[in-house]
């Protein structure tokens, strides 16, 4: 789509330089205001990247490869104005240094690819992505569509510029002086290639890079998604409300509370939870032996256990409040009381932790890209 010298008449070239100039002017002023001193290094290095990305051979369905333009991804990551400057810089070096695209046609190429491409990609991306989350797959679709329409918008402009040449510029004998094909040939000939191969390459690259950045470096997608929190910040908000992070814990607590009455169904006592009195009770001794592979328990309670058992008397001995006569109800009440105590202790512990390290629930200063 890089129009070489000789395809467009000098007047068309001049007109398109004129059309591009105000966009360049606005882009330079806007980005300069936004980026201040960062403008030069950012645009320079990103233009180098745009140049290299145009040399990538992107495999497209069907087995062939095509070169992408990169207008979509530049616009999504940098915003439309910085993207215009970046792509124009890359196109300038392509034209002057590598002879890819003409010098007289540079205004036209910048207008088509840098300006129309960037603005179309940005508009489509913003509209389709809406306020979806940075990592939402809707953004991948929006980016892919933005890239596809951007390159096709640029191609359509190029096709029209080339297609009007034979209508306006002819020699005395009627031979077209520049691009020889009229609109009815130029537009379909160029658009078929771009609606298929080149468009698909752009679609793959733009969608693919956004999908990659969502996984690897979501902060780069931040600029053109104002007001949409980064995934990192979403978790930070959750920590502050304390709900999302603690959700598994609350679920477990709820389950335990519901399942607490199961303890009533278990026969006898849990292994090892014997009291001093159990060693004297024949029924209890039988249970202990059964639970211990028929090894008979010692005749008397171990002296250590006997000595220590008086030190601490649980408020609900054997999980049974003294005023309760129904064993089942007492068991449930004990369970609820136990769980409640655990929750209170947890809350107390986290409150102390926050007092000691106040920065814990605040976002760590996010590294802001450009």
């Amino acid at each position: 789509m890089h129009i070489p010298d000789g395809y467009l008449s000098p007047s068309t070239c001049a007109a398109l330089y004129g059309a591009a100039a105000p966009f360049w002017y606005v882009a330079l002023r806007k980005t300069r205001k936004l980026l201040l001193t960062r403008l030069v290094p950012l645009i320079s290095v990103f233009a180098a990247f745009s140049f290299v990305i145009m040399m990538f051979n992107i495999p497209i369905p069907g087995g062939t490869t095509a070169h992408p333009l990169g207008a979509g991804i530049a616009s999504i990551v940098l915003g439309p104005w910085a993207s215009i400057l970046t792509l124009s810089t890359a196109l300038f070096i392509q034209a002057f240094f590598f002879g890819d695209g003409g010098i007289t046609a540079l205004g036209a190429n910048c207008f088509n690819m840098a300006i129309v491409g960037s603005l179309v990609a940005w508009l489509v991306y913003r509209v389709v992505a809406g306020r979806s989350a940075i990592t939402s797959s809707r953004r991948v679709v929006a980016a892919a569509l933005g890239g596809y329409l951007a390159i096709n918008g640029a191609a359509l402009c190029a096709a029209i510029e080339l297609g009007i040449q034979p209508h306006f510029f002819k020699s005395a004998s009627g031979a077209p002086l520049y691009a020889p094909y009229p609109l009815n040939i130029a537009v379909p000939a160029i658009m078929i290639g771009h609606l298929t191969f080149a468009g698909l390459a752009e679609l793959v690259v733009t969608g693919g890079i956004v999908a990659y950045l969502q996984r690897a470096n979501p902060s780069l997608l931040r600029l053109t998604a104002p007001g949409v929190p980064l995934p990192q910040e979403e978790t930070q908000q959750a920590t502050m409300t304390g709900w999302r992070v603690a959700r598994p814990l609350w679920t477990a607590v709820g389950l335990l509370m519901v399942l607490a009455p199961l303890g009533l169904l278990a026969a006898g006592k849990a292994w090892g939870e014997w009291s001093v009195h159990d060693f004297a009770d024949p029924a209890a001794r039988q249970q202990m032996a059964a639970a211990s592979r028929n090894v008979a328990p010692p005749a008397a309670a171990p002296s250590g256990l006997e000595r220590l058992s008086d030190i601490w008397t649980a408020p609900f001995p054997d999980y049974l409040p003294p005023f309760m006569r129904s064993a089942a109800f007492g068991y449930i009440l004990s369970a609820i009381f136990g769980v409640g105590t655990i929750i209170l202790l947890t809350l107390l512990a986290s409150w102390i932790a926050l007092k000691v390290r106040p920065g814990l629930d605040h976002a760590p200063a996010s590294t802001k890209e450009s």
Partner: protein
């Protein structure tokens, strides 16, 4: 590049060879720009303005003879500037023919006009206007491309950029263009290394879906690297006292020889504009 000759060239091989081609082009340009030829001795500003005027004359001309004359001048300048004929043929003329020649091919058949010949077997009509149109396109593109390549092959890139100040290009843009060119090779090298290392670790064929994923992820990695690089460059600039003000050193000096060349460029382009009306 051996990959170029192998039968099945995947996207990795194709991309790597594009990167190498670009680096080769730059290397060759730097070499010829240092040679002691006619155009190398001309002040970059005179050369830039002069060659742009010749390109514009070629673009505006309605006469075959004038465009062909400008092409002849370009070839003569190349010979006097130690730009080898072989390079012109390979890098410019064949490349242009492969692209523009193919595009111009149907023009003689589809352009309405005076039928001068019937194509045997197919029975297509060749029109005089169509033939002329294809001729204009190919000749014009060849001439402009030859002139442009002369500018780059005989001038160090930094000088081309500084010369742009004559055309009132803002200093900030000149600086951006210079830095882009400088970091272009770093990014190219980076991309080349990524693709090479990927190739060296691959033993089988990737499916289409995997290929696309690899290509997009490589581009994404390269973009992340680019951002890191731009941050580092920014910090390096700031630590050296950069505050956003840009000044470009204009160390060029016009000598008598440059005035003569400026006159020659002016004379040729005005004559070409006049004769090619």
């Amino acid at each position: 590049m051996p990959a170029k000759r192998s039968g099945t060239r995947g996207f990795l091989e194709r991309s790597t060879s594009s990167f190498v081609d670009a680096m080769e082009h730059a290397f060759y340009a730097e070499q010829t720009a240092r040679a002691d030829g006619l155009l190398q001795r001309v002040d970059p500003r005179v050369k830039l303005v002069g060659i742009l005027a010749l390109v514009a004359a070629a673009a505006a001309s309605r006469s075959f003879a004038v465009i062909a004359g400008l092409l002849a001048i370009a070839i003569a300048l190349a010979a006097l500037s130690h730009v080898s004929f072989r390079v012109l043929v390979n890098r410019v003329w064949v490349a242009v023919l492969l692209f523009t020649g193919v595009i111009a091919l149907p023009a003689p058949f589809v352009t309405p006009g005076l039928v001068i010949w019937h194509l045997p077997l197919l029975g297509w009509d060749v029109t005089e206007q169509g033939l002329a149109s294809a001729g204009y396109l190919v000749l014009r593109v060849e001439t402009a491309a030859t002139l442009c390549v002369l500018l780059v092959l005989t001038t160090p890139w930094n000088h081309v950029l500084k010369a742009l100040r004559v055309l009132r290009v803002p200093a900030v843009l000149v600086t951006i263009l210079g830095m882009t060119y400088r970091y272009l090779f770093l990014v190219l090298q980076s991309a080349h290394d990524m693709f090479e290392s990927r190739r060296s670790r691959m033993i089988g064929e990737l499916t289409g879906r995997e290929r696309r994923r690899v290509a997009a992820a490589s581009a994404g990695v390269l973009m992340s690297k680019t951002f890191d690089l731009s941050n580092e460059v920014y910090l390096a600039m700031e630590s050296r006292g950069y505050r956003g003000d840009i000044s470009v050193l204009d160390e060029f000096q016009i000598r008598n020889f440059d005035w003569v060349m400026l006159g020659a460029f002016a004379l040729v382009s005005i004559a070409a504009f006049w004769l090619g009306r």
